[in-house]
């Protein structure tokens, strides 16, 4: 599925909704909601409850809206109920994640309420919102309040209350959006885990954003090219490293605290004179600016931000040099497979990990990990592209196991899903591979191998929270053992040592470290040396994993 759509030329111009809307107007509203969600996607993703960056609610809701929109993108239908049914159908087929499923139910109820109406007036919109709420609530035995469901309920109630004052469709929309905003802000009062994490509900926020996008369109406010600032934790700077174009020789990242509130429009405009790939993040009054500049301009962003505030940190990297060394290392030598042989497909979160899987005899790699799960289609494509019909897949992440199973059920090839929930489990299973062995025996061996290894992960908490009795402050280093949060501390070294202790490493023989892209080689060596001092008799291996977010993935066997 394409991740972007051509935007309807009418978006961004003020629209007079009048008293009734038809199918084409509904389509434009859906497009506006989707576009606005896309702009705010990272912000919604950042509203995750767990202190690990694993939020994908914004992405899931956006993919669901895009599936809905692609169903109607070519449609010239003027009948509003037919249009709504098509939207609901598209949302149903493309629903991703829990929030996506609920969103598809909201659309389903909406469409049902319109029955076979040609056009929709204010009273019908009220009925449709009520039916959206009813349908969404029917999907669950014990509805949890403080979620997207609550927001849908408050929207319907507000619309019902406003209608007797006979407002226009536009006024009604405005009160709906205000109600959604208020409901989202109240979610932490209803759901303690949100309050604990200091966030509002992400699904509810996503729904608000969709409606707000529709309202912005009605009011003629712009939806694109809008200056947005993402939370610092949501900045994915490593992704901007993928490709470097001419004039992007240096990457400059500056942290600063402005003397006075930042005029973002002006800030962006000035920066775009200096370089490209501009990203700005904000947290607690602290700003982080990221930019790619040609060699001769490499000090300009720093000089410029120093005029605006106190610069606290500067990082400059030579991208060209980095790309060259990346390029020389990035050649994967996948295991060639012949018809009749057994091939293994592995999901890998980083280039280094992909290389290690390849060296162990994997025949195809699907990229994906904690924050971006590969789709069923991507995994299916990997199956279909292999010249053999006996395939084993290692998902290597708990969130990808289902997609792998779905892909396995869709192909005619014989596919076994080994439910590896982490990279170490996947590698442990891969060691049992024999390309000419008996399929069932290998699958059984691999399944057994999953239990032989403990998985440790070290990352930085993106927010303060208390889970499993472990208190975590935003910015602290946290250690997870087999997916469970077990330790929060101030240094990566400490986290590693505590983790190894809790994993009963003294009873094991081998420790393997896979270091991520956000930690320096010097620090890695220093930490591994201190681990060696504590476990002198253990076999200790060190590999470049190249995974995002996680400083270390640790395998203990």
């Amino acid at each position: 599925m394409s991740n972007s759509f051509e935007i309807h030329p009418s978006i961004g111009k003020q629209t007079d909704l009048g008293t009734r809307i038809d199918g084409q107007e509904l389509k434009t509203l859906v497009e506006a909601g989707m576009t606005w969600l896309k702009v705010n996607q990272q912000m919604v993703n950042a509203l995750n409850v767990f202190p690990v960056p694993d939020g994908d609610t914004g992405t899931n809701m956006l993919l669901t809206m895009q599936a809905a929109y692609s169903e109607i993108a070519q449609s010239g239908e003027r009948n509003v109920s037919k249009m709504a049914h098509a939207i609901a159908q598209g949302a149903l087929m493309g629903a991703r994640g829990n929030s996506g499923v609920i969103l598809s139910q909201l659309w389903r109820g909406f469409a049902r309420a319109l029955d076979s109406a040609e056009t929709m007036d204010a009273a019908m919109l009220v009925r449709a919102l009520a039916e959206s709420r009813n349908t969404a609530y029917k999907g669950v035995v014990r509805p949890v309040e403080g979620t997207i469901l609550t927001v849908a309920k408050e929207i319907a109630a507000a619309a019902e209350q406003e209608l007797p004052q006979a407002p226009s469709l536009a006024d009604l929309f405005e009160s709906v959006v205000n109600a959604a905003d208020a409901a989202v802000k109240r979610t932490p009062e209803l759901l303690p885990i949100l309050k604990q994490a200091g966030v509002v509900d992400s699904g509810g926020k996503g729904l608000f954003i969709i409606l707000e996008g529709m309202l912005r369109h009605i009011k003629g406010q712009p939806l694109e090219g809008v200056v947005t600032v993402q939370p610092l934790a949501a900045m994915q700077l490593e992704e901007s490293m993928e490709a470097v174009e001419p004039g992007q020789d240096f990457e400059v990242v500056v942290d600063f605290r402005p003397y006075q509130p930042l005029d973002l429009e002006k800030f962006y405009a000035e920066l775009s004179e200096i370089g490209t790939s501009i990203q700005v993040g904000e947290g607690d009054g602290m700003y982080r600016m990221h930019i790619h500049v040609p060699t001769e301009n490499r000090y300009q962003p720093i000089d410029y931000t120093m005029q605006l505030g106190t610069v606290t940190k500067v990082a400059i990297e030579n991208l060209l040099a980095q790309m060259e060394s990346e390029g020389s290392k990035s050649q994967l030598s996948l295991h060639p497979v012949e018809p009749g042989q057994i091939a293994v497909v592995a999901v890998a979160p980083g280039k280094g990990i992909a290389r290690i899987f390849a060296s162990l005899g994997v025949s195809a790699i699907v990229e994906g990990g904690q924050t971006m799960n590969p789709s069923t289609e991507q995994i299916l494509a990997a199956f279909e592209n292999l010249p053999t019909d006996q395939i084993i897949i290692l998902p290597n992440n708990k969130n990808i196991v289902m997609a792998a199973q779905a892909a396995a059920s869709m192909t005619v090839k014989k596919v076994a899903v080994i439910p590896s929930r982490s990279v170490p489990q996947g590698l442990s299973a891969m060691l049992r591979m024999e390309h000419n062995g008996d399929f069932d025996t290998i699958v059984e061996d691999m399944n057994q191998a999953l239990g032989d290894v403990e998985t440790g992960e070290i990352t930085i908490a993106t927010r303060s929270i208390e889970i499993n009795g472990v208190k975590v402050n935003s910015g602290e280093v946290i250690a997870l053992l087999n997916g469970q949060l077990i330790e929060s501390t101030s240094s990566i070294e400490n986290a590693c040592l505590q983790l190894l202790q809790k994993a009963h490493t003294e009873e094991r023989e081998r420790i393997t470290f896979f270091y991520g892209q956000n930690i320096s080689k010097e620090e890695v060596n220093r930490i591994v040396d201190s681990v060696r001092a504590v476990y002198p008799d253990h076999e200790i291996e060190l590999h470049e994993g190249g995974q995002p977010h996680y400083q270390f993935i640790i395998s203990i066997e």
Partner: protein, 118 residues
């Protein structure tokens, strides 16, 4: 099954207790409208005594837990997505409550409940 021990004694958590956690977290998942009896015998037994572990089969191999769930899902939803959320929720709740690893959660969709026809 034995869960852990400390110098003062051992802690045992029964399979039924864990099955109850699985049933409750499945029912709290969006899209799940009920648990279904695994077979006729269980269905008959259900009419006599209400069992909080209806629709859950638990397997314990001494190290890790396996779960089979028999569910009724609301008609009109993408079943694979609903099932995948159930798997995540059940696994998370069991691991959180018992700190025992969950090896697998299989979802068997036994039926769909139709509240509204489109």
């Amino acid at each position: 099954m034995k869960e852990m021990s400390n110098p003062l004694g051992n802690i045992y958590v029964s399979q039924r207790a864990i099955a109850t956690i699985a049933a409750q977290s499945a029912l709290a998942s969006y899209g799940v409208v009920g648990l279904a009896a695994k077979n006729l015998a269980e269905e008959v037994a259900q009419t006599l005594v209400k069992d909080p572990t209806k629709g859950v089969e638990l397997h314990f191999d001494g190290r890790s837990i396996g779960v089979d769930l028999y569910l009724v899902i609301e008609y009109g939803m993408r079943i694979t997505t609903v099932a995948s959320s159930v798997v995540d929720a059940v696994r998370y709740q069991i691991e959180k409550a018992t700190s025992l690893p969950v090896k697998y959660v299989n979802v068997h969709v036994r039926g769909l409940r139709i509240s509204d026809t489109d």
